[in-house]
Symmetry: C2
Subunit: 622 residues, 2 copies
């Protein structure tokens, strides 16, 4: 921005004052929210939006627009005020903050077109910012990503996962700002105003760190310029600020977190103090909003996905679904440049290393740090990539809160968890995911898929890639036979009836490895002249309610589910709710105690989900 | 230990060689496991167990025994070998590694009396170690805690949460050891053998850091001594090691993670190389196992809990269950010195600050770091404390993987999550827990409680404190009227029938705030001359199956659940499974889309869980 500092700084000061006033008024109007958390970052925000970032207030989603992630999401009012000041929407809207009819929610969500990912769970925004920064590299754009954190937030481990990854990836297009206002929710923060604590940490983690007075606009502008010219490493601007800055009776005072000013005298005194801070003695000020630099308009490479070849398996091939996932992911990598993969140092177990071989430049290694892996995927998805983060299914629980926020963000993260269930065997319970289906099914907008063979794994992966919204696919460690032809079709929300006859006495519903236990049970029962229907429920969410009800009707309402998962929240519960309106109940076979090490087949037997247990259950329900 | 180094070191060398041989043999016998990850830490382990720690191999649970946590749990075989070498059990047992009949599982679990918490999900052991170190302070014992991490593991954010907390708490009774073998599972680690990367980070986080050669016993012993004499801060020993140390064809080589030596030539060559490393030229060696220093036997203060006073509310008082939790927790603090509380800078919202006022020395502030909060609670619980970690229910999902490992550990962490559901209102979805019940219910050994009023909150908290195993209590933000008398009794696994008559047409089952929606619906329907049964399902797991079935029988099998939670994994699913055998299905009212900001009552209405929706559901099922 080519405006003389002597003109620029008074204009920014007045914007900062307006942002403070807006934040105070809006939170008082909604009788809730965090005005003092906004006030500490007002000068930083004014400088960032009106003297640093390149964006188009009328087109926030422009693919080459600089990004801003408000990691301390509770300061949402000032974010909204900044966009209103920039001209994105009418300032009067700000007074509808937190109302049910307004998209200006208590914490930012992508209902607003200028928000990439929902924030409000601390320590996540910086992970998402890594994703938007990686995306710039992917599309060869020079857009920059800015992320503003709170100092209290810096205690979250995910912040340090992000710090490592950003440094390793040399993300010099990423600039962090920490608003060190020294006061947390319930007490002073961990390091308060000891700026050296922050500086030592960020430098040790490989960042360029700049300590400034976060209320001195000259220092702020200089720091942004220094960040822009720093190459080969990300920059963290550590800004010493005062919470509640600008209103004497709250400034730097504990006990004001999340407290709006009371309507009447308290509000009036605050506003009066703030209004006095307008610079009026320098004549007419420049209209900075009108001069925001537009994003680059250099043409980007057009995306033209190549057709995806059909699976190439032979019936009866023994292939683990985790391996089929790797093969399918590599094919997707070759087909579509938007597809990226993220790993947490298990690529040789999940088989995501096959993607890396095809497209190493779109394979992001996070080392053993699942939170930043999923968080970065959120940022990538928000910017048009199709990200596939994967690790052992049990270790994705490490990122459960990110998975939750991805649901609120409704971004297309395509998660895959391998090594599900007791069927992994000897490694023992710490490596067995037995609660993952419950975790993803709980989120109403997640697609949840669970293939049993290589063909369905490959087909479902491709469906998942292009289905909008977040999704999860569960893969298994043991090899299983290919049972579907390469041209078999699958749908999200479908199921496959694998065995059926008019004489079926019960329907057994499995998924993944239990499909094969059900098929074994079918053979055992057939030998005893009992027929059962067998269903492969490869899509758990959405679920084929009609198909399940039809099977229930055809088999006397006798429905048995069997799953390599704990009893709550998995296949049994999914089927039970789907058939409840039809008046059917479900008999559930599931893992009902903490398992232990052993051979896969021993554990499947011991924990009640083997063919033998299915046969017993059929006999009992008959 | 007063043994001359000239005698000590050869004896330790031979122990290290035996530990390597055991690890190699046991993993080959089980045809799975991580021998090379054991071999890098063999010298460290030998020195720690046989020249540093004070413990009784026959009484590992001694309250004053030094603790060892193997944070890199995949190196379990060498842990087992060290205990066998110390005389805890017969060395022949080692060859049963990972068999279904052996407690020597693939990763350590507390089925073994020398394991405090299960490890195998990386980055958790160091958090638990903070708990065991805090416990030493609680019981005024001088026992020390040692925790061994992998270098790959150091990428986990939870490690840095732990680093902060240990430094802030000045835990000089805690000594970490990082086995920097430079090789991860799938590739070289983030920082490989750049020891400065580790040293800078740990020093920046306030630890005393010592870089050593992890195969030089003199340096190892000196480092332990230096750690012991370092006051006011924890120590991290950063040991440069070689993965697979001792066997030339794997030592320092990538591609050997998690690969046992093949039976036959490969194993034989490895063992032959290792056996050559026995020191035989120094004459008879000292028997170090016989000389392990015993733990202190200074008497500890006896624990004599005082009786807990009954709740002191008046019927109709308006009290949020989160506030009642705080009051109850403060009473527990006063009553029982084993009770401790852990916070993540939300004590003024969860009301755990009431505990802090009563027992500040047993109140552990973790700042905004939920993983270390829950991890430390695991360590505390394993050593006899009764820990109550609490924060917003949604932010406990940040520690989902710890909650999972606490289930495997079966330790008595007593979690409480506040601000559940859409009824929190304006703050919006990022602050609303709507999947927490699914998360805890999935774990088969968690107790899950959900009080609706202050009396039940206080009673359930006391029950939870003394019920064995992990537990979760869900509290709400809005004030609700006290409906139970102070002398009302509650049981884990119970429910309360609040309204019933012979004319009831349906049973409505709620918990927490929906109990009051059900009571409102009762009144509305009563005005229309329709009677319903109303149940407060305050115990979700275990669940009162008989009580629910009886209600179903009495009301024509018409069961309606209503919950401030997503549809999957919560109250509806819990009730549906409980009544399935009786042939009843359940009509579920739950939140079925991502919610938004608004007033609590607006959201309860909009997302389908209000009295109006219950009335409609009753009318439809009639």
């Amino acid at each position: 921005m080519n405006i003389d500092r002597a003109l620029l700084i008074p204009a920014l000061k007045n914007i900062a004052t307006r942002l403070r006033i807006d934040s105070v008024r809006a939170t008082t109007a909604s009788a809730s929210g965090h005005p003092t958390s906004c006030m500490s970052m007002a000068d930083l925000t004014a400088a960032l939006f009106f003297a640093e970032m390149r964006f188009d207030p009328k087109d926030p989603k422009n693919p080459q627009s600089d990004r801003f992630v408000l990691s301390k999401g509770h300061a949402a009012p000032i974010l909204y005020s900044a966009w209103a000041e920039a001209g994105a929407f009418d300032r009067a809207e700000l007074m509808k903050l937190r109302q049910i009819g307004s998209d200006l929610e208590g914490h930012p969500t992508p209902r607003l077109n200028f928000v990439d990912v929902a924030t409000g769970s601390l320590g996540q925004g910086i992970c998402a910012a890594i994703g938007t920064a990686l995306n710039a590299r992917r599309i060869a754009s020079d857009y920059r990503t800015y992320v503003l954190l709170g100092d209290g937030e810096s205690a979250e481990g995910s912040v340090w996962e992000a710090a490592n990854v950003a440094a390793l990836d040399k993300l010099d297009n990423l600039c962090g700002i920490t608003d060190v206002n020294a006061l947390g929710q319930s007490r002073p923060t961990m390091w308060q105003h000891d700026m050296g604590q922050f500086e030592r940490r960020w430098k040790a983690f490989g960042w360029h760190a700049i300590v400034i007075d976060g209320h001195d606009l000259t220092q702020i502008l200089d720091a942004f310029a220094e960040a822009r010219s720093t190459k080969g490493q990300p920059t963290m601007i550590l800004a010493r600020t005062l919470k509640g800055k600008g209103v004497s009776f709250v400034e730097g005072k504990d006990g004001w977190h999340g407290k709006p000013f009371k309507e009447g005298d308290e509000l009036n005194r605050a506003i009066a103090e703030l209004e006095k801070q307008f610079v009026t003695d320098t004549g007419p000020l420049v209209d900075l909003a009108a001069q925001i630099p537009k994003p680059a308009s250099t043409p980007l490479t057009a995306v033209t996905p190549k057709p995806l070849a059909a699976p190439a398996y032979a019936l009866g091939d023994q292939v683990a679904t985790r391996e089929a996932f790797g093969t399918a992911l590599a094919k997707l990598a070759d087909s579509d440049p938007r597809v990226v993969a993220l790993d947490a140092d298990v690529k040789n177990s999940t088989f995501s290393d096959r993607f890396e071989k095809v497209a190493p430049e779109r394979f992001y290694q996070n080392f053993i740090a699942e939170q930043v892996m999923v968080g970065a995927a959120m940022g990538l998805a928000a910017r048009g990539a199709i990200p596939f983060p994967s690790t052992f299914a049990c270790f994705l629980t490490r990122a459960a809160d990110f998975i939750r926020m991805a649901a609120i963000s409704n971004v297309g993260v395509k998660l895959t968890g391998s090594h599900a269930g007791v069927s992994i065997g000897e490694d023992g319970p710490s490596q067995m995911a037995l609660e993952d289906l419950a975790m993803y099914r709980a989120e109403p907008n997640y697609t949840v898929l669970y293939p049993c063979d290589a063909v369905s794994a490959e087909r479902l992966l491709a469906l998942m890639a292009y289905h909008p919204g977040p999704a999860y696919m569960r893969t298994s460690r043991p090899k299983t036979p290919v049972i579907y032809a390469n041209d078999e079709t699958f749908t999200i929300g479908g199921l496959k009836v694998l065995r059926e006859s008019a004489a079926d006495v019960a329907t057994v519903i499995g998924a993944g490895i239990t499909v094969f236990e059900a098929l074994k049970a079918y053979e055992q029962l057939k030998a005893a002249e009992t027929a059962i229907r067998v269903i492969d429920l490869y899509s758990l969410q959405p679920i084929d309610k009609a198909g399940l009800v039809a099977a229930g009707r055809a088999t006397g309402g006798r429905l048995i589910t069997v799953e390599d998962h704990y009893a709550a929240g998995g296949i049994g519960d999914a089927v039970a709710e789907a058939v409840a309106d039809a008046g059917f109940t479900v008999h559930r076979l599931a893992v009902r105690e903490i398992p232990r090490s052993g051979k896969p087949e021993e554990l499947v037997e011991r924990f009640g989900i083997s063919a033998n247990h299915i046969v017993d259950a059929v006999k009992k329900t008959k």
